[in-house]
């Protein structure tokens, strides 16, 4: 499917040996490191190895066009923010440098805590003029390595911008600063009789700005929909310090392009979100929750269909987990008990209803459940009788992430797939990995969103090689998305092409360049890498399809007239967004060479 992946505009440069040689290569050491990989990849002729998360930090090189922080910079930031909000303290930095999963670790020397939009603007303006790379950070609960620096990027944490600006009790429109913690907003609203339209396991730490920047989905999605609909306005600061005031509070506004949408889900790559205006639904008093067991995945699927039909107007969550996920939670989380002892079932489903009439809703849910049980869709189930019971059922579903962390290493995939195919991937993965790994499937079935998680005692590149790119290819083959709600971050920056066409990706690259011409915002992630896979595909096709032995020679891989057969591995590398240059490393049994070019 990548046959036409790259248009011809690269080719002339590519064939132009001169151009290739003109390019600078700050990668000499890198080549040395690569030799290690050669041995492992012998035999995989022509195979392009995609950089993958566990080795990402090892393989990415710091972009040399970024400056390094100096004492004057720190002094300048102190002038803007005051001593207290410029943090160089090792302990604080070591927390801010590591992500929630403890998988990605940066080495930033500076954490800034702005208290106003004006301060954010001054920070970015300065960083842009100095070419200091920046990573915007919220609650640092992101799951794809997007919220921590890769190298020495300056961390800008929005935590101190946590004021509620206004709340309209008639329309339910809340305007607040980006650093407000989701749970705090929810409690604030509860007192007013409203709720946030989203809820997720990380609610106690994640910030609304982070939610917006990752376009977080979560548990209420099936009822209240995406942030693309619920966010009515934003204020954001661009890389050059320009403050974009799009902080509308209107539900309808068709005047020109709806630019705020670009910031929703762009993972801090286009600007720093500083204020948010969000539509919140009224809090309905009657919430009911059932925890159910199903004998197979087909029953879960049918149950979803039935629930949508029969509980449509009150359905507020439909989540599922498999036996392995349940086992994980029961083994690793304290105080969690199996609601349906003593047996273990193959699948568990949580159905939540939210409505305005307690006895009507409960009766409706119970009638539905009893019918489904008689029909064989449900094997057994319990209905929460109070909030405490409901919380303990939710704890099982929401605790899976935490339990996995305790169990050892975890490879997490967050995929959108057609509901009927979704679990097949889990089964195939289980067969593929055998007993060495625990493969779990759970997620937001109501939104056709699978969380595929693979747990092993420790990180292991051979396991990873079994998983990726298989999981991405499979998803792409079924026209799914390789990131349903967690975003691309560092983990999946390279993999965007599995879900987006090359034309789309190119346009994204142009937008990124327009918003952030120096590429200082959250580099090496999401939009940063987007040119890179295309080059590799182009080269791949070039060699496989069009490339004869002579053209291989043009790649710079000459070895006494022996060509194609000896290319045993290629590693590609995207050097600099701004320079739009690329480097390809071709490894043969005798040599290791780099080729590079400039994308016009």
């Amino acid at each position: 499917m990548y046959q036409q992946a790259f248009s011809t505009n690269v080719k002339p440069h590519f064939e132009n040996q001169k151009n290739v040689e003109l390019c600078c290569h700050p990668l000499r050491d890198y080549i040395g490191n690569l030799q290690v990989f050669v041995a492992r990849n012998v035999g995989q002729t022509y195979k392009i190895h995609y950089r993958s998360f566990s080795s990402a930090a090892k393989l990415i090189q710091r972009n040399p066009s970024f400056s390094t922080l100096n004492a004057d910079d720190v002094k300048h930031f102190k002038e803007i923010l005051g001593e207290k909000n410029v943090i160089e303290d090792e302990d604080t930095l070591s927390t801010a440098n590591v992500d929630w999963m403890r998988k990605y670790k940066g080495s930033s020397k500076l954490l800034l805590q702005p208290r106003s939009t004006e301060e954010v603007s001054q920070i970015l303006k300065y960083c842009n003029s100095r070419r200091l790379a920046v990573v915007p950070q919220g609650g640092n609960t992101g799951l794809v390595g997007g919220s921590v620096p890769v190298f020495d990027e300056v961390i800008v944490n929005l935590g101190s911008m946590n004021s509620i600006i206004s709340f309209d009790e008639v329309s339910g429109i809340l305007v607040c600063e980006a650093g407000c913690i989701l749970e705090n907003l929810d409690s604030f609203l509860a007192n007013k009789g409203f709720i946030m339209p989203l809820d997720l396991g990380a609610k106690g730490s994640c910030q609304i700005g982070g939610n917006v920047s990752t376009n977080a989905g979560g548990l209420r999605f099936v009822r209240y929909g995406s942030l693309h609909g619920n966010i009515l306005g934003l204020e954001a600061v661009l890389a050059n310090g320009t403050v974009l005031d799009m902080l509308g509070t209107l539900r309808k506004d068709n005047t020109g392009y709806d630019l705020k949408q670009l910031f929703i889900g762009s993972e801090g790559s286009l600007g720093i979100v500083t204020k948010v205006s969000i539509l919140t639904p009224p809090k309905l008093s009657s919430i009911n929750l059932a925890f159910l067991a199903c004998k197979d995945y087909f029953s879960c699927q049918k149950l979803l269909l039935e629930a949508k039909r029969k509980l449509g107007e009150v359905l507020s969550a439909f989540e599922f987990l498999d036996n392995q996920s349940m086992d994980m939670v029961l083994t690793h989380l304290e105080g969690v008990r199996n609601p349906l002892p003593p047996s273990m079932y193959n699948f568990y489903v949580l159905i939540e209803t939210t409505g305005s009439d307690e006895s009507y809703d409960k009766e409706k849910l119970e009638a539905f459940l009893l019918r489904s049980m008689e029909g064989g869709l449900i094997s057994d189930g319990v209905v929460a009788q109070d909030i405490n019971q409901a919380s303990s059922f939710w704890r099982i579903r929401e605790g899976i992430t935490e339990a996995l962390m305790k169990a050892g290493a975890v490879y997490k995939y967050d995929l959108s797939l057609p509901v009927e195919k979704m679990y097949k991937l889990v089964e195939e993965m289980r067969l593929r990995l055998g007993p060495s790994a625990k493969v779990m499937g759970y997620g937001h079935l109501g939104d056709a969103n699978l969380h595929l998680n693979i747990s092993t005692s420790q990180y292991d590149d051979t396991v990873l090689a079994q998983i990726e790119p298989f999981v991405y290819e499979w998803t792409s083959g079924h026209r799914g998305s390789i990131s349903a709600e967690h975003g691309l971050g560092l983990m999946k920056a390279n993999e965007i092409h599995y879900s987006k066409s090359s034309e789309t990706v190119q346009l994204m690259a142009s937008i990124k360049k327009l918003f952030d011409s120096n590429g200082i915002l959250n580099p090496y992630k999401s939009a940063e890498f987007i040119i890179f896979p295309e080059i590799s595909h182009f080269l791949f096709n070039y060699i496989e399809c069009e490339g004869n032995q002579d053209s291989i020679a043009e790649l710079g891989q000459t070895n006494n007239g022996k060509y194609a057969e000896e290319v045993i591995w290629m590693e590609n590398f995207y050097l600099s967004y701004q320079l739009r240059s690329w480097v390809l490393i071709v490894i043969t049994s005798h040599s290791c060479k780099e080729v590079s070019g400039i994308v016009s």
Partner: protein, 251 residues
């Protein structure tokens, strides 16, 4: 032997209580109501005794407005065999409740009356003691363990007291009130919810039981406890000592 269990409908344990602006009570409209957690424990204990073959029937009783039926349904879905709803005004004080319970005990003649040690709404912790007094039955309050001897008609109860545990032997019939550690209540399963649909909830009034509801208590005002003042972070031990001495007057 029958076991009678009192279950109270209260504001859900997890709901943040808000005082009504006119200070006449706490806000209950649009607020989630559930079974008092101690009553859940009482019911669970009764069910376990029945499942162990030491009792023949578990009867759940609740007093208050019509919505108490929902709480009784929960009790039936947990496994109670039948239920009695005493239709009474929303506010009942412990003595009235104890009198109603006594009247019901006189009719049903259970061998054991189990209650929660207190209800989490008013935290009175009086009803069990009062009804034992009215019935002239022995009482084992704050039970964390209950063992029944069917032959000797004796209940051995471990009580949680200030100094630790106290073990009492009660001749049946007796009153037991439950503490938190007695057991972990079961969930209402779908098959049991289904069975509960055909179970009977009998409705009676205090009049029919010859109990006069009156109270010598007058509610003057309900207010929130004073808000805790925010703490301060001190920068040194010296400052801490200074604050303890001069602000807190600890020494």
């Amino acid at each position: 032997m029958k076991i009678m269990v009192a279950v109270k409908r209260v504001i859900d344990y997890a709901v943040k209580i808000r005082v009504k602006p006119d200070k006449t009570g706490v806000e209950t409209s649009n607020v989630k109501m559930s079974m008092n957690p101690f009553c859940e424990i009482a019911l669970e204990e009764a069910l376990r005794i029945k499942e162990a073959g030491l009792a023949s029937e578990v009867i759940a009783v609740s007093m208050g407005p019509t919505q108490c039926v929902d709480t009784l349904r929960t009790g039936l879905a947990m496994g109670a065999d039948r239920a009695i709803h005493v239709d009474a005004p929303a506010t009942l004080y412990p003595l009235s409740v104890a009198k109603i319970l006594k009247a019901l005990v006189d009719i049903e003649k259970p061998g054991l009356l189990i209650l929660g040690k207190q209800a989490i709404d008013d935290d009175c912790n009086q009803t069990g003691q009062m009804v034992a007094g009215l019935l002239k039955w022995p009482q084992g309050t704050f039970a964390s363990k209950v063992v029944l001897d069917k032959e000797k008609q004796v209940a051995t109860v471990d009580r949680e007291v200030d100094g630790g545990l106290e073990t009492l032997c009660l001749d049946l019939p007796a009153v037991i009130t439950t503490d938190l550690r007695l057991n972990q209540p079961r969930y209402a399963t779908l098959p049991n919810i289904m069975k509960a649909k055909s179970k009977v909830i009998k409705k009676v009034t205090p009049d029919e039981l010859n109990v006069e509801i009156k109270s010598d208590l007058e509610l003057v005002q309900v207010t929130e406890p004073p808000k805790r003042k925010a703490g301060v972070i001190v920068s040194s031990v010296d400052e801490l000592i200074d604050k303890l001495k001069n602000d807190a007057h600890v020494f």
